[in-house]
Symmetry: C2
Subunit: 186 residues, 2 copies
């Protein structure tokens, strides 16, 4: 399970509330881990119970109060332990690929719009990552170790989105080539 460790990393980079963490998971952290606010709140409570994090109630004006979490020493130890353990290389789950292969038994042309929709989402993500890269990692800057590590992870997100866009173009070309010809119509 990496969610609790992703939260530890994020809180070490910058303490914050569950809500703020949820937004980070929608943005900067989203290119290597995702989570909903429900998961985050639940895991934060468990981590607090286990002494991994500490809470501080913060009153705000014009907004609801929030609970700001920061990492306690046992949490830091748990992260170090986990860093030293091996983890399984991830396996892919791509339901669009299931659909593409399933299109052999349905309507290939009908998948074109869906594929284009996915392409638009990935193009938007790529644009967002590239903008973030320009903003946070200007070419001339001297980066400390933390920033260099953040940057190499972001480069991974960028590479993933570029690769995905190229593949979706390949899928679109294939579907269009097959368009009109309905194979295996039963």
């Amino acid at each position: 399970m990496a969610l609790e460790h992703a939260i530890l990393v994020s809180l070490l980079e910058q303490p914050g509330s569950g809500y703020e963490l949820a937004r980070r998971f929608d943005r900067s952290i989203g290119y290597f881990w995702t989570a909903t606010h429900q998961q985050i709140y639940r895991v934060l409570r468990r981590m607090e119970r286990d002494g991994w994090v500490e809470v501080r109630d913060v009153a705000q004006d014009g907004r609801p109060d929030k609970k700001v979490y920061s990492v306690a020493p046992p949490g830091r130890g748990a992260l170090s332990d986990w860093l030293a353990e091996p983890v399984e290389p991830e396996s892919v789950r791509h339901s669009l690929a299931v659909k593409v292969r399933g299109a052999a038994f349905g309507d290939p042309a009908g998948l074109i719009a869906e594929t284009e929709r996915h392409r638009a989402v990935h193009a938007e993500r790529l644009a967002r990552y590239l903008a973030g890269e320009q903003r946070d990692f200007p070419e001339s800057a001297e980066l400390d170790a933390g920033a260099q590590l953040q940057h190499v992870v972001l480069r991974g997100g960028i590479a993933y989105e570029r690769m995905t866009l190229d593949w979706l173009d390949d899928v679109l070309a294939t579907l269009r080539r097959l368009g009109g010809a309905h194979p295996d119509p039963h």
Copy 2:
């Protein structure tokens, strides 16, 4: 949920037992969807209960009997329905990336061996996919629609592994650049 649909696609391409499906999910289907035999058996029973698939008991000699599943018309209908529905673009979950970013608060050099291990796994997968491509999709062949769709999905798996290898090299270079310098030692 795409597991049941992935099973439908696989059974339409070729009927088989739960055990055989599990092996396909370890091999050809593994580059776009994964599942353990537990999940597969459970989902197969549900699909049978719902009339999506039909079972036939097959006695074998020298081996345990098996139950061979094939897709029934309602299953085919369910697949068509699902193909017409939009699905959410997948989100990534890459725990190695969590570790890389976490290395800022631990030992970057200690991650090198782990990263190399991941690299070896992905290199092996790429080699396997490329061998499968040469075997199943020779350049000169005329491919029918189903084979073309299988091929484009395989190209996606190949592109993913190549991209991942490149990124892991990038990560290794970054970790080695930081090697020795322990940032933020608390």
